[in-house]
């Protein structure tokens, strides 16, 4: 047997945080408060990574007094399908999380020296922060507090000893070194799966849930959260703004929203880019042979176009829409006032993640999870409120960091099991031992063929989902014939594998759930079925294959009961 040092560069720490986006950065900063050694790893350059810097800079906020009403609303909206313990934690933590982020250097929009809290809806508010510079600011604080950071390392798998997670293995993309991390506590915060399909959240490729699954941790809610938003096809970007839907038309020049939702054409409505009504109207029109769908703003002045973006949060979406118009003009050479633009539903993201308890712990000893990599059912499969994604990343990060830090402060580090590590590293590098017949890009494209079409992933039905699963199976077979010449090829191989796994889990769970609920819609089971399906679906690895099981929603333990 080889020595560990012969297999790669071994680095020991107390708390290892994988992924330095919003969740990972918050986890690292909070873990450091336990006065332990914290090492933060990212495949990207830290400060410019993850989803927060390219997002809208919106952070949801609830006044502490409003928490009970908000929790009750989320619970009733989800029809008691949420994890009320987590909903309560989310509500309770929002004020503290916002103040902590400000202390940690995040720049908020201020009014008279105080964070400006803007009204969004009943009992829910938002604050605005400088998104592009957010992680640069938090990184500076992390440095000053002695958090160690290493970037451009692509972590593929977790390491275990006697059932407990004791670290991870990563590939140095720039230096070509294999890194072996040994930690007392490990936090996965690498996001969920954006499938590198559309431009936006395409750098998160399902790595975290995949490595957790392979190590034996349970995933939950894989059938929920798959998201389509409508946007500009050629630009790969949405046009933020709540009134643009009024100007969507089919190839004949007919206004499509008026055809399918006439009530939206009178009065004042807020229709966001993730509104399912727009996505469904687009689909119906195209299926009726009336596609493609255009946004036709011809003849409108710039001021009139800006007005269409107007939102209840003054200036916010207008600002974003203006940015998009600048992008259109400068990058795509399109002037929306004289040229119509083709729009389509953009598939952005898969749902679910590593199942966590109220302390951020996964079902595996030594492993915590936060942000998009984790799933805690706080919304019961819903979501969609702007700013809750960032707040959820921050709060799950703080919770996981606090608990992993406390654990590391109280426990000894366990050694890495050398034979286990050797097996893992052999698996990771196996593609380098074979001559490739395919490129990893072929596999990725095939995964896209399975997850992007709405006939598979939005209007779900058993026969079609089995067809999609067949495409995923083909993709995985093909993956067995992909070779790798260097660590770059290996990274592409492993990202294709984690994307194929995300797709497989989504469809397996969606096939199992024979009802419609929240964002999960089954054409063959169009009704909600509380009698049989008031339960969450888990996925875990058993004998090398995904094993699905159910967990009844423990509503009897919660404060709010149906029928009250």
């Amino acid at each position: 047997m080889q020595k560990l040092e012969d297999m790669g560069t071994v680095i020991a720490t107390d708390v290892l945080v994988l992924g330095a986006g919003g969740a990972g950065m918050c986890a690292a900063l909070k873990a450091k408060e336990s006065k332990v050694d914290v090492l933060l790893i990212d495949k990207c350059g830290i400060g410019w990574n993850g989803q927060v810097p390219i997002g809208g800079g919106i952070l949801a906020y609830i006044y502490p007094d409003d928490v009970p009403e908000w929790t009750e609303k989320v619970t009733r909206d989800s029809r008691y399908f949420n994890n009320q313990d987590w909903t309560h934690i989310m509500g309770q933590y929002m004020h503290k999380s916002t103040m902590d982020l400000a202390d940690m250097g995040l720049t908020f929009l201020n009014k008279k020296g105080e964070i400006d809290i803007l009204t969004w809806g009943p009992n829910i508010h938002v604050t605005l922060f400088d998104a592009p510079k957010s992680l640069v600011a938090l990184k500076k604080t992390a440095e000053s507090r002695g958090i160690r950071m290493m970037d451009k390392i692509y972590v593929i798998d977790l390491l275990k000893n006697d059932g407990q997670v004791v670290g991870a293995v990563g590939l140095g993309l720039v230096d070509g070194k294999t890194y072996i991390f040994n930690a007392k506590a490990t936090i996965v915060a690498t996001g969920n799966c954006g499938y590198m399909h559309e431009k936006t959240y395409s750098s998160v490729l399902g790595e975290g849930p995949a490595m957790g699954y392979r190590a034996g941790a349970q995933l939950v809610n894989a059938e929920f959260g798959s998201g389509y938003v409508w946007g500009i096809k050629t630009l790969g970007k949405e046009l933020m703004g709540i009134h643009f839907y009024l100007y969507l038309e089919n190839a004949r020049g007919e206004k499509i929203m008026g055809k399918h939702y006439p009530e939206l054409m009178v009065g004042n409505h807020s229709v966001y880019t993730f509104d399912p009504r727009v996505i469904d109207a687009m689909y119906k029109e195209v299926k009726a042979g009336l596609g493609p769908i255009y946004l036709n703003l011809k003849g409108l002045t710039t001021a009139e176009i800006a007005e269409l973006a107007e939102d209840r949060v003054e200036g916010l979406t207008q600002l974003m829409a203006n940015d998009t118009i600048v992008l259109l003009n400068e990058k795509a050479g399109i002037d929306p006032a004289v040229e119509k633009m083709e729009m389509w539903p953009r598939y952005l993201y898969s749902g679910g993640g590593l199942r966590i308890d109220t302390g951020g712990r996964t079902t595996l000893d030594g492993l915590w999870a936060a942000g998009g990599s984790s799933s805690n059912s706080w919304s019961g499969g819903g979501g969609g409120q702007a700013g809750l994604g960032v707040q959820s990343a921050a709060i799950t990060g703080f919770v996981a960091g606090e608990n992993a830090g406390a654990y590391a402060a109280a426990n000894q580090r366990r050694d890495i099991d050398v034979a286990y590590a050797e097996g893992i590293i052999d698996r990771i590098k196996a593609p380098m031992q074979r001559r490739g017949e395919f490129d990893a890009a072929d596999v990725t494209y095939q995964v896209h063929e399975a997850v992007v079409p709405m006939k598979y992933n939005r209007l779900r039905e058993a026969g079609r989902m089995n067809e999609a699963l067949g495409i995923v199976r083909d993709a995985r077979d093909k993956l067995g014939r992909v070779g790798a010449a260097d660590f770059h090829d290996l990274a592409r191989y492993h990202s294709a594998e984690s994307m194929a796994m995300a797709a497989e889990f989504t469809y397996k769970a969606a096939l199992m759930r024979e009802e419609s609920r929240s964002g999960h819609f089954r054409e063959d089971f169009p009704e909600r079925d509380d009698k049989n399906w008031f339960k969450w679906i888990t996925v875990e690895s058993r004998d090398g294959a995904p094993h699905l099981a159910t967990l009844p929603v423990p509503v009897e333990k919660y404060k709010l009961q149906p029928g009250q």
């Binding site: 350059g45 400060g47 990574n49 970037d151 395409s202 389509w344 072929d442 770059h488 990274a491």
Partner: protein, 73 residues
């Protein structure tokens, strides 16, 4: 096609795009210090370089693989 256009003339070699790339597609050239697209096939169109480049050197297209994006319809 992912990084559709990189205007190297405008590049000042600040290195933000190199830091912002999650797949190590971009490196700084050892000779002139400007960015180079070293691994074009590894681009995931995350849009980081285009978003953060202070000079606006990048134009990233989401089209990749076979050149056509898979249709949602």
């Amino acid at each position: 096609m992912t990084i559709r256009n990189f205007d190297r003339e405008k590049c000042t070699g600040c290195g933000i795009c190199v830091a912002a790339c999650p797949m190590d597609v971009l490196r700084l050239d050892e000779n002139d210090g400007k960015a180079v697209v070293k691994y074009p096939n590894d681009c995931v169109a995350c849009w980081g370089c285009e978003s953060f480049c202070p000079q606006g050197c990048f134009d990233v297209s989401p089209e990749r693989g076979r050149g056509e994006m898979v249709s949602p319809y």
